[in-house]
């Protein structure tokens, strides 16, 4: 009897140990991209499905193309009509306001009329073939309603967003910030060790993970280089290779400069930002693509002075040389 109990307990313990030591990866589709979650431990499957459902709800809330979402209501409102928004939208807006100010408008969520003009929005990009760049006149028209500080009034007490007079055509888009925000929020759901990857916006919890930075151009290697993402950190990458078209031999990519209305031409083709806030990192990677290396590094230094976010970055230039900002332990492949 005693031998039997000991044997059974031993087998159960071994099983529990092997189950908790294992990791499982599940893949879902949300925010127009793949969501991969690697979780260590037995309860992984349940948590990943909960996180997926949560991310779907965030997408519904934050996407400008989903009817009834906060952004859809804002974008379709007339100047002067206040739109009551969810706590999530207001939280994102407070982050967006700071990055817009600190980057001198290089990251601007009001760029959406331009994104649509260039057919880079998620609902249009894959459907339109034979893309051509818009005319300068059309760009100028779209630019006239771009400018987050001029076009919108944000009331954090009332929780409302209002288009200012003369900006009826203004529109907001969280495309450069929502995925980083969603990953950051998702990390709170995991108790143990987890890696969440939403289309390259990656968060680590409970342990270090080795992360590769994608090649911005065709290469024999599967990634450009790698570094260690510490527990609690997130990475976002913006590049000219993610969504682009070629017209008459010239590449037109989706990171648009809010000052020119055209694809950024700062000398950088890929910017990866690591920090402890997913939304900030996501917005910064876009801002630095627009600003270029020198202004980008100054922006990182300023943010690290003012906030406890430990921002680090890898900047890749058109000639495929690279620069690492901060102590990342980056190794070129």
């Amino acid at each position: 009897m005693r031998t039997k109990s000991v044997l059974l307990i031993a087998i159960i313990l071994i099983s529990i140990v092997s189950l908790t030591a294992c990791s499982s990866t599940e893949q879902f589709f949300v925010f127009g991209t793949f969501l991969d979650m690697t979780v260590e431990g037995v309860s992984g499957g349940k948590v990943t499905r909960e996180v997926f459902t949560y991310m779907e709800s965030l997408e519904t809330l934050l996407s400008p193309t989903v009817e009834g979402s906060d952004l859809h209501k804002i974008n379709n409102a007339k100047a002067g009509d206040s739109v009551k928004c969810s706590a999530e939208t207001m939280e994102l807006l407070s982050i967006v306001e700071v990055i817009f100010d600190l980057s001198d408008g290089a990251y601007d969520p009001s760029i959406y009329p331009l994104v649509r003009l260039w057919n880079f929005s998620g609902d249009k990009f894959s459907q339109i073939e034979g893309k051509t760049p818009p005319t300068d006149e059309d760009i100028a028209t779209a630019l006239s309603v771009v400018g987050f500080d001029k076009a919108f009034t944000i009331d954090h007490v009332a929780g409302t967003v209002t288009k200012n007079v003369g900006y009826d055509g203004a529109m907001l888009d969280f495309g450069g910030v929502a995925k980083g925000y969603a990953v950051d929020k998702a990390m709170d759901n995991f108790d143990g060790k987890a890696l969440v990857n939403l289309g390259g916006n990656i968060g680590a919890k409970g342990k270090e993970y080795t992360i590769g930075i994608g090649n911005p151009r065709e290469s024999a290697t599967p990634y450009f280089g790698s570094f260690t993402l510490s527990a609690g950190e997130l990475i976002s990458t913006s590049g000219d290779y993610e969504r682009f078209f070629t017209y008459e031999g010239k590449r037109y990519h989706h990171i648009l400069s809010p000052s020119t209305g055209k694809p950024s031409d700062s000398g950088l083709i890929s910017v990866s930002v690591v920090c402890t806030n997913g939304a900030v990192g996501d917005a910064l990677s876009t801002a630095i693509m627009v600003l270029g290396a020198e202004k980008g590094k100054a922006l990182i230094a300023r943010i690290n002075d003012e906030f406890d976010l430990n921002v680090k970055a890898v900047l890749i230039s058109t000639d495929l040389t690279y620069e690492v900002v901060g102590d990342l332990g980056f190794v070129k492949k």
Binding site: T3, K4, L7, L8, I11, I12, I14, S15, S18, L19, A21, C22, S23, S24, T25, D36, T38, L195, N197, G200, N201, I202, Y209, T210, I211, G212, I213, G214, A220, T221, P222, Y223, S226, I235, S236, T237, S272
Partner: protein, 125 residues
Amino acid sequence: MKNKLLKDIFKKGDILLVLVLVVAVILTAVFATRTADSFVEIYVDGVLAFQLDLLKDTTLDLNTTSYKIDLIVTVKSGKAYVTHSDCPDKLCVLSSGVSSVGGLIVCLPNKVVVKVTPKEVDAIS
């Protein structure tokens, strides 16, 4: 005698429980191995030419402007194969697919080596 001893220690239900647990451990081990992703390296004349994701079905034709080798590597359902080669003996084409780390297919006449190596990164941004 041996059977009697086993019967003394375990009842039918216990044996069932043990079997269920053993199956659970084996399944866990199988899934854990699968998530420890690997990729396929293709060397031409000793130099690393390509790296392919082992979990992504793909076909790689080496008859390109850079290599001009009449050989095709195919990755399907987590295994890498040489599916075509103009070499005389066709040993590489006849080789079984490789999927576990260390798995190797060699085409000596074309100086091509297909090798499964552990994935070095957990994710790519």
